[in-house]
């Protein structure tokens, strides 16, 4: 069997049924091996989008998504997508072609040291030097990408290794000596966490992306409902907990919900569940959680104490840690009542900000359109986002009901992620409607994936909040640079309805809330991708705002 055939078989053995990619000279043998294989190949128009599609697929399935590219420029085009997956701990497997072994290091045509380039943004990388190594390396790539703290893995295969034949052995079990992720947290640490929680009067849960990666939704809810305490999330953790739940308070941080940012300052104990204390969620490290006890649950030991010293660290998979914690806590306390002063305070804050924060005065606003989308989209509908104001408005005004249905490039903040990721998500969940909450600038970056959505029949919805502005940057220029605009205006170009139509998708421009209502309903039913072009006032700001370098207490609400 050839190395290329072994690759395809190894992928199939891992359960991969779709790959996203684009061919070239150095991966021709792989593309030839695809002919007649069960594996579905989705041809992209730019490799960056292939990586985002694999990422979107992986986030839904909580299993690795796979993308292909040729050597050199094909491989470097993947990098933004790989870095995006790395920043958000997403299991993407990138398979690149490489120049033949004998040509490596000779500055051959389309030779790039992609392992070197990708090193800082991959969990690991492989370069088989003999065809017979491929089955085991692929198996290890999946194991490393999907287990522990997930992350992208690169498999860089020289062309002659793809072509060579060998006796193939597909291992069932593999071991990686230097890699042993912890699953179950230490029990004595668990005991200390229980002690703190039993005594705490105003504990709060801060749920992060780790809960979604682990799928520990029921376990998180069990802890919250046992203690009857407020639940805030990070932005990456948005939707780890149903946002229509009476304990939910939404994301904290730079553009967190006002009541969430406020209440966490008043807590006496923070239970951080699968969150890494990013500067965007906690503001200043030194101020955050001052005087409070912090319990940190994380699967990555290197996250413990990285940004924040904590009182108790529970290193392990949050699914297991939460289960044990709830079990041990239940032995000490009975389910607490909802009628407690801490939850009264929660209600007070929610009410206060609901009355104080003003709506932007216009027929169509970001908030109104997102509330409308929520009203019409089924609870299990999947949402991805682009980056910028559109993303933060989604965080603020679109409530996630079914846990694990909201995905965004949060760590890297990659414009252009949302649309290809929505296609990957649709490939993973073909039966549910999938919406990319987009900004014009971001959508512009990867809009050529419309070809993929039309030709490969992934009818997703692009919910385009169009201010014809790199709006988030414009907002910072209004706030910090005395409204001096520099490099942010898009001058009404291009016409996104025509763009959609040029690809054979549907484009609708809406002029009123009523038209928006109609357009969303039609798009959900449509069997072709729809771009809904929603005019947003370029002056509309995102509030609340915690300026960089300041603390959550310095939040500006814009009211």
């Amino acid at each position: 069997m050839t190395g290329a055939k072994a690759l395809i078989q190894a992928l199939e053995k891992e359960g991969t049924n779709v790959v996203f990619g684009l061919p070239g000279g150095a991966n021709l043998p792989i593309y030839d091996a695809l002919v007649g294989a069960n594996l579905r190949h989705v041809l992209v128009r730019h490799e960056q989008s292939a990586a985002h599609m694999a990422d979107g697929y992986a986030r839904i399935k909580r299993k690795a998504g796979v993308c292909f590219a040729t050597s050199g420029p094909g491989a470097t085009n993947l990098i933004t997508g790989i870095a995006t997956a790395y920043a958000d701990s997403s299991p993407v497997i990138a398979v690149t072609g490489q120049v033949p072994v004998a040509m490596i290091g000779k500055d051959a045509f389309q030779e790039t040291d992609i392992i070197g380039v990708a090193n800082p943004c991959t969990k690991y990388s492989f370069q088989p030097r003999a065809a017979g190594e491929i089955p085991e390396m692929v198996k290890k790539a999946f194991y490393i990408a999907e287990s522990g703290r997930p992350g992208p893995v690169l498999v860089d295969i020289p062309k002659d290794v793809q072509q060579a034949t060998a006796e193939m052995k597909f291992p069932d079990l593999i071991k990686v000596r230097g890699y042993n992720p912890v699953v179950d947290a230490d029990l004595s640490d668990m005991g200390r966490a229980v002690e703190i929680l039993v005594k705490a009067e105003k504990p709060i849960i801060m749920a992060g992306g780790g809960v979604i990666l682990s799928g520990a939704f029921a376990e998180l809810q069990a802890l919250a409902e046992l203690l009857m305490i407020p639940v805030v999330t990070t932005f990456k953790g948005k939707g780890a907990f149903p946002e229509n739940h009476p304990l939910a308070m939404g994301p904290i941080g730079m553009h967190g919900h006002a009541e969430a940012n406020k209440i966490i300052l008043e807590a006496d104990c923070i239970v951080a569940v699968g969150a890494r204390f990013s500067d965007r969620s906690v503001g200043r490290f030194d101020e955050f959680g001052k005087g409070m006890s912090i319990i940190h649950m994380d699967i990555d030991p290197a996250e413990i104490g990285k940004n924040k010293s904590v009182d108790v660290a529970l290193v392990g998979d949050v699914k297991s840690s939460l289960r044990t914690l709830v079990k041990l806590l239940s032995k000490k306390i009975a389910k607490r009542s909802a009628d407690n002063p801490w939850l009264k305070r929660r209600k007070e804050l929610v009410q206060y900000y609901a009355e104080t924060l003003k709506d932007y005065p216009r027929e169509i606003t970001a908030k109104k359109s997102l509330k409308k989308l929520r009203e019409l989209l089924p609870a299990n509908g999947v949402v991805t986002t682009e980056v910028g104001q559109c993303q933060m408005w989604a965080s603020l005004h679109f409530d996630v009901i079914a846990p694990g249905t909201f995905f965004s490039s949060t760590g890297l903040g990659t414009m252009g992620f949302g649309f290809p990721a929505s296609i990957g998500a649709k490939a993973a969940a073909p039966k549910v409607p999938v919406v990319d909450i987009a900004g014009d600038g971001s959508f512009n970056m990867t809009e050529n994936s419309l070809a993929v959505s039309v030709l490969e029949k992934f009818p997703v919805i692009v919910f385009l909040m169009n201010n014809y502005m790199l709006g988030m940057v414009a907002q910072w220029q209004r706030t910090f640079y005395n409204k001096r605009y520099s490099g942010v205006e898009q001058h009404s170009c291009p016409d996104y309805v025509k763009i959609a139509e040029a690809y054979g998708a549907q484009g609708v421009r809406v002029g009123s809330m009523q038209e928006l209502d109609k357009a969303i309903k039609a798009a959900i039913k449509s069997d072709v991708a729809t771009v809904i072009d929603i005019p947003i006032d370029p002056d509309e700001d995102v509030y609340p705002f915690v300026a960089p370098g300041t603390g959550l207490k310095d939040m500006i609400t814009g009211a």
Partner: protein
């Protein structure tokens, strides 16, 4: 180059057993650069096991940075084991080759004298230079270097520290 406690923290020896295969040193040094870890010396060499190499890293760090350095190293897939050695319970040595300008006979005999006191080896004597090998703790090498510096050091090459725990501890 200070080898004892400095303002930025204390001096630590960290050893790592790593897979003996291409690219591992790259991954380790790239990690140090990307995470802003300040490394004083790093050595790599073979061990009693054919498929494992030992890296010895010395660093001036505060405790928090050291903790991160160790954890980030452990996180690398090719790193099998990481330990911070207690310098009290560790044997550690560095080797230095020092070539000095030495033309007149007094200088030459002084250098040879110092070298004997430091249990150095004279490796080469030319018309105008003497090359000495000194083995010891980094402190000892620093001391010798400071002593002979006034004569003029033509070239100097240090290996970095190599270390093992004392006694039965493995």
């Amino acid at each position: 180059m200070a080898t004892t406690a400095t303002q930025s923290g204390s001096w630590y020896i960290v050893t790592a057993l790593v897979e003996n295969k291409p690219g591992v040193l790259f991954r380790v040094t790239n990690l140090f650069r990307a995470r802003n870890f300040n490394i004083e010396s790093i050595t790599v060499g073979s061990t009693e096991q054919k498929d494992l190499s030992r890296m010895t890293i010395t660093t001036n760090s505060d405790e928090r940075t050291l903790d991160q350095l160790v954890k980030q190293l452990r996180k690398l897939i090719d790193v099998v084991e990481v330990k911070v050695l207690d310098t009290e319970k560790t044997v550690y040595r560095e080797l230095a080759l020092i070539k000095m300008k030495a033309v007149d006979p007094t200088t030459r005999s002084e250098i040879i004298n110092y070298s004997t006191i430091f249990r150095g080896n004279i490796l080469d004597i030319g018309k105008e230079t003497i090359t000495v090998e000194i083995t010891g703790t980094p402190d000892k090498i620093d001391a010798f270097k400071n002593l002979v510096e006034p004569y003029g050091i033509a070239q100097l090459s240090r290996t970095g520290v190599s270390a093992l725990p004392r006694g039965v501890e493995v």
